[in-house]
Amino acid sequence: MIRSDQILKTVEMIQKEHLDVRAVTMGICLLDCRTGDAESTALKIREKIRTLAGDFVATCDRIGGKYGVPVVNKRISVTPIAHVGAGFSCDGFIRLAKALDEAATEVGIDIIGGFSANVEKGINLGDMNLIRAVPEALAVTGKVCSSINAGSTRHGLNMDAVALLGETVKAAADASASSHGFGAAKLVVFANQPGDNPFMAGAIHGLGEADAVINVGVSGPGVIARALERRIAAEGAENLGLDDLAEEIKQATFRVTRCGELIGRQVAKALGLPFGVVDLSLAPTPSVGDSVGEILNILGVDDIGAPGSTAIVAMLNDAVKKGGSFASQSVGGLSGAFIPVMEDSVLADAAERGCLTLEKLEAMTCVCSVGLDMVPIPGDTDPETIAAIIADELMIGVINSKTTAARLIPVPGKAAGDFVSFGGLFGESVVLPIRNTGKSSRFVKFGGRIPAPIHSLKN
């Protein structure tokens, strides 16, 4: 029998701290759905998703109920659609996006990821047609997310693609102007994109994966925040060092990860699918008490973005990885703390007060996943400036052999300091100012590639 105090600690974690499994994502390979035309490919995509994921949501709910740990988000990621629709026109790709949207509705999930392409070294015709289709595809569908990998440590950064994506982000926002540019909130540009990430908007089912797989994203930052508060209340802040608090994060993450993997494996077993990975990322939601920013407050900065914020994020990220790696049989995906401005109420508040700036966010992404995430920027920002911000962010990943990404939303008709809200999980924030707008177009227009970095002489 497990000791009583251990039982009570776990009960407290589940009941009071709202331990959950943040995302169970089914990865589905769609390569076998290719036919000669978009219409029949679309039908096969719907059929395959319906067949594999028909019981997915009910199974997650049943197993969550059995263990008393709810699965908050049930999602699907698919093979990057550029591979499935290579040879189709832009209209053909939009047809496939609609098929994904319809399939998502049929099986009862809220988001499906994988309207994606990898253009880290070059853009083929299929990639090009998909990227050109992105703005309309995201405007006419509600549940489809798109991600484009534009760089990697192995191949460097494809600046032709980055320039094109600067325009695409802007076009995606403008195509959905009636919903404040929400289309851009469903588009993320990556460097070193993993093929097994369960979190949206960047989830894809990579080419090296099995036909179908279950990946899991662990519970959010709230559990870690409560564990830290409890430890500080019990022992007093003056008696604790940062190493003690890092240890507390490790231990809490261990428990959280174990729960996530248990539920994920049970779902995979019930559906007869292989279990893929646990993603250790702390993904905040706009709910109060579920914020990465709050952890930074607890760990000693009075406002997010104050000096020390980067060091704390680094420590948090590392402790989460240590605790989670020890707990799990297979870790993967993004596995780091997210700092999505709109989705994290404490970060959004700091942005509103002007404490958290784009530059400080960029610095913080050097030491955590995943990048400049859910950052609303002025609607009149020019595409070259957007491309240059993306380039800055992606090169952090390329040089440091890590995943980085940019999900920027140029909110149509809004200026810095204006308020924008997407509601639900996508949250709200003020529009962040960009300093030095319009000064990077010569850089972006060079195009070509930033070469892959050297792998020695590390400094």
Binding site: M1, I7, L8, T10, Q15, G68, F254
Partner: protein, 197 residues
């Protein structure tokens, strides 16, 4: 190919046969705690040719209790073991031939942990265990402790015979409200996952 669980069940089956043939007995010991009880009892078992299969001991408020499972040669009776042990130790010992399942129930997918926290009063354990008994729920393990006037109970229970978990949970919730107990039911695997390495 046989999986790990298959191998385990075969081993358990063989263990069961061997134990049956070696005349298995359950021995319980109780005494005021002092040094030497375990040594005296186990030496006594060895002297009778007994082989120890399993043992649990616990001390509560200075009182020692122990339950042992041991296999003896076929011609040894429970009375002989009791007499033999009486020569070795002054502690109270009772011996029963073991019957029925020889392998402890494996933690199954129906094993849950029920934690009950409430103000200490007479009859709490009786109330909770009666609630379980009335629904055919077997208590596999139970521990409790008092902290001030707060009484905490941890019950490991087997819900194999429960038809609807949802119904049981709602009955439990109503029972908790009526008896002013904070009752939480969680699957055993959650505690194993979060506390075992």
């Amino acid at each position: 190919m046989i999986g790990k669980s298959g191998v385990n069940s075969i081993l358990n089956f063989l263990k069961g046969i061997l134990m049956t043939e070696s005349n298995l007995m359950v021995i319980s010991v109780m005494d005021r705690d002092r040094s030497g009880i375990v040594a005296e009892v186990t030496e006594g078992i060895s002297a009778l040719g007994g082989n120890l299969a399993d043992l649990r001991e616990s001390v509560l408020c200075g009182y020692f209790t122990m339950i042992l499972l041991a296999g003896f040669p076929g011609n040894v009776t429970a009375e002989q073991v009791e007499k033999g042990l009486a020569k070795q130790t002054s502690s109270r010992v009772s011996v029963e031939p073991a019957e029925g399942a020889l392998v402890e129930a494996q933690a199954s997918e129906h094993v849950y942990v029920l934690s009950a926290v409430g103000r200490d009063r007479v009859g709490l354990v009786a109330q909770v265990s009666r609630f379980c008994c009335n629904r055919g729920v077997n208590i596999l393990d139970l521990a409790s402790h008092v902290d001030g006037d707060q009484y905490t109970m941890m019950l490991q229970i087997d819900l194999s015979d429960i038809q609807s978990l949802e119904e049981f949970k709602s009955e439990l919730s109503a029972f908790g409200d009526a008896s002013h107990l904070n009752l939480v039911l969680q699957h055993n695997d959650i505690f194993r996952a979060t506390n075992e390495i």
